[in-house]
Assembly symmetry: C2
């Protein structure tokens, strides 16, 4: 055991000894169970008073680093992280062992600790950090784990995911992506791995500017800011505009993450009734006067979850009312390019003569959802402020995915992809509609959306979506219960079905599983009550 002490130092000798031993324990040089020299012996060896070593050992004991046992003397306690973990990471062979063979450092060490590296005999086991008291008030507003639960559910192997929120993923061969990737590295060289500006890789902003032209929007590259998914834009806008107590209007039902984001900022969220033509703007004037909202959040095209398309009259009315009240419109156009039939309507942003629309969209529903690339178009003054916020949140969106998507567009591959995607999504929608028609789900109604990803189904009043969900999940099919799409008290009898992610055979099988769950739930129900079925029309 080698301890260097420095008699010239201002650090007391006992602290130097303490530090020397502590370092050896922590670094793994002195493994658990290592026998330390008796105090007298070490004092002699170092040429210090015995009381100095006694003091050092006392400090080490009080930290739980060493232990004294009658008969065994003083030993290093179970602490050394260097032992297992250090070796595992340092040694090349283990490091290369790969996913299958690789076990976590903590497990490899084989030590009886919890994950934070706390020894069992430590005081912190009795008085742990009071994390729950330390969380901020604002962070405690976020209790909902809908997304987490859905992402978890999506990991189960045999499950048919009517709960999904993405388009068909596997219609393209991956050869294009391989080719594009290689070209990007070749073209951009080391720039592909360097930082890019916080508002986005400029050539991508140019490409997006052209793409948004197809939605009728006249935005230059300077009017576009790249986001790590369009949802990030909602988050940044919520930070930029919402003070606690501010009112936000949303369509009812609406995208659940938007509800979480506004709520997390302390907004009061008012749901505006909606029907097959979107937000009920006929109710809006009175509500605007009453609540004076700061933001109106809307998904005018193929609304999530309802599939509704806002009529052109309502778009005009919304724009004009919002401007008169100096209310900002957040237009979420994640689905607008996914139209399977009928004529396109211009986006709100395309009709925005007053400049009060912030337009959000994303590649996530079109291709590469895992890349997390979306964008916002709006006044540069607003983009500038959102950029300052984005610098804190992630500095900038990952460089390589931006470059890949840019090149995908520049080579015209996005258009080819979109054609295929729309055709396939349409087919899958029709398969699901056909299967639902044939399934005999008595008392259930659903819409036939002209685009987007979802069917919105109304169950009979006696059917609890939560009961149906648990049966469905046991049967191997998942969906999203409607209540998560409501900011307040929700009508309890809707569910959202995605028809784009599962393949047609999966859709057929999934609807069969769903119908079986439905019949079981109904049988169960009948045991306890006489069904009192209200008459149901198509809900949207």
């Amino acid at each position: 055991m080698e301890i260097r002490i420095d008699r010239e130092s201002t650090i007391p000798l006992y602290m130097q000894i303490y530090s020397g031993i502590r370092d050896m324990i922590i670094s793994g040089k002195m493994p658990a169970g290592y026998r330390l020299p008796p105090e007298r012996k070490l004092a002699e060896q170092l040429g210090v008073n015995r009381s100095t070593v006694i003091n050092a050992y006392r400090e080490l004991k009080s930290c739980g680093l060493i232990e004294s046992h009658v008969g065994r003397g003083t030993v290093a306690a179970i602490y050394s992280t260097g032992d297992g973990a250090g070796r595992a990471a340092g040694g090349r062979t283990e490091h290369m062992a790969g996913i299958g063979a690789g076990r976590a450092a903590g497990e490899m060490a084989g030590l009886p600790w919890d994950s934070t590296g706390t020894a069992q005999h430590d005081a912190s086991m009795i008085h742990p950090m009071p994390w729950d008291q330390l969380f901020s008030e604002s962070s405690l507003r976020m209790q909902d784990t809908t997304v987490r639960d859905l992402l978890k559910l999506s990991g189960r192997k045999d499950m048919i995911l009517f709960a999904a929120g993405v388009s068909v993923q596997d219609i393209d061969s991956l050869d294009d992506l391989q080719k594009i990737q290689a070209e990007v590295i070749k073209e951009h060289g080391h720039n592909a791995i360097k930082h890019v500006p916080s508002d986005g890789f400029y050539p991508l902003r140019e490409s997006i500017s052209k793409l948004t032209g197809s939605r009728g929007i006249n935005a230059s590259a300077q009017d576009i800011m790249v986001l790590s998914g369009s949802q990030q834009g909602l988050y940044l806008a919520a930070c930029a505009f919402i003070d606690p107590g501010d009112v936000v209007f949303v369509e009812e039902p609406t995208f659940f993450s938007a509800i979480h984001i506004f709520r997390a900022q302390g907004a009061r969220i008012i749901g505006i009734p909606s029907d097959r033509d979107g937000m009920r703007t006929d109710l809006l004037a009175a509500l605007l006067r009453r609540f004076r909202p700061k933001l109106i959040y809307t998904i005018p095209d193929f609304q999530n979850p309802s599939g509704a398309v806002m009529s052109i009259e309502r778009r005009q009315e919304l724009l004009s009312l919002a401007y008169r009240n100096q209310t900002i419109i957040l237009e979420d156009d994640a689905y607008g390019m996914l139209r399977y039939e009928g004529d396109s309507l211009p986006s709100l942003k395309a009709m925005d003569v007053h400049g009060n629309v912030l337009y959000f969209s994303t590649f996530s529903k079109l291709l590469f959802p895992g890349f997390r690339v979306g964008w916002i178009s709006g006044p540069q003054r607003v983009l500038h402020r959102l950029t300052i916020l984005k610098q804190m949140v992630d500095l900038h969106t990952s460089s390589l995915p931006q470059m890949i998507i840019d090149r995908f567009m520049k080579e015209g591959l996005l258009e080819e992809h979109l054609e295929k995607l729309i055709k396939e999504n349409r087919k899958r929608r029709d398969v699901m509609l056909e299967e639902l028609d044939a399934a005999g789900l008595e008392g259930t109604a659903w819409n036939k959306p002209e685009g987007g990803l979802y069917l919105w189904c109304r169950l009979p009043d006696w059917m609890q979506p939560s009961a149906l969900l648990s049966r469905s999940v046991s049967n191997g099919v998942s969906f999203v219960p409607g209540s998560v799409f409501y900011p307040g008290n929700a009508p309890a009898n809707h569910i959202r079905l995605n028809f784009t992610y599962p393949t047609p055979p999966e859709i057929r099988e999934g609807v069969k599983r769903l119908a079986a769950a439905y019949r079981e739930a109904r049988k169960e129900q009948k045991k306890y009550s006489v069904g009192d079925h209200a008459e149901l029309g198509p809900i949207l």
Copy 2:
């Protein structure tokens, strides 16, 4: 001009006409200057009363969509975004024009509008949205644009960037990256483009768990959460723990983005004096009693900007004092693996018997800074809450970069890369130290850091860093003025020099340019005042 009207509809006829024309204008079918039929003629054509058409035209005029001119009749106003932008995006040829040829939609249209698509004669030109009044109070706390300015500066071609914050970028050939990319797509198939969990791609979490073992940290994959850069972790932790008015301790000086992030959450930031051994923990006990901070933010190894390494005694003291006060320690270990000489000290997390350290690190200073992949290790209860926050911020870190970095580690390439990187960084540090010694910067002192990316220089008191910076930038060399690293009133005479990003010849040239700027600034100074040089020791 084709307008469909529906006499069965509940929508008034004049609104139907209004909508029909509006759609044509917005969609570009009716370009600016298009002559609309006289009211009487259109009324005949549609079989409606003339007053109906008059009402429709009046609505269109009030929206600025059409204009009446004596002699020219009624024409579509300058509005059609479909004209230029729509064509540009729709036509395949233009779409494929590429970066060089591609001009933004707004420019292509050649229309005299501002970027929000607002026609010049519109009411909103006179009464625009009052954006500055609409921004939230919390977002107005963020005024600093240091990062933005630095990123902009870094874009200038001939500039030698002593202002940089990254390691050498081009020591590796890109062949490895090409190979790894191809393998990732091959191995993961469509999963490479799909969503991954919010807390990270699990195999990467395993690889990081092993990597952190080399820093003495005993964390399993479950104790690791992937971040979009370690700075995102600081942001999430700030959201999770800071309520307005809470106190945060930071080393003085410290990483400027951390200051912005804590300030944005409304924290009161107290700078703790630091020296060559890091944070002055001898002052800490009294300060903890006085301010009761919620968080202590520290960079124990190769501190940014000072290069200081916290001594083992101070690490122990900090851990023990923080635990006793139930204060959370945020340990930023961005530079810990970049040691060029001397012995490593264990990270705070490795010594954290109490479990109150949240450990942040990142790949950004090692490789692929543009990928934005970092991580946090901490108690699972905390990671769970941060995950809920991250879902709002970006749902998850981009999938492909996570998979590339994971494979890079699994194949042992990170270790190879680190060896090269450390060797090259050390060389560059020595070149800069040598050049500075030879440059004769009278009255200036700097440290010799054992690792990290920065030299921290103290200028003589009569030299203003801002004056030196503007001269330096004209001479083609940039650095970061020291004031941005202080939460409060800053001593005005420090600058930070990065020695890892510029090549050795660039470092030699850059120091020459800096020295020239220095002499100019000095000459200028002497004109106005007699230098009163305090005696200066090496500052760190």
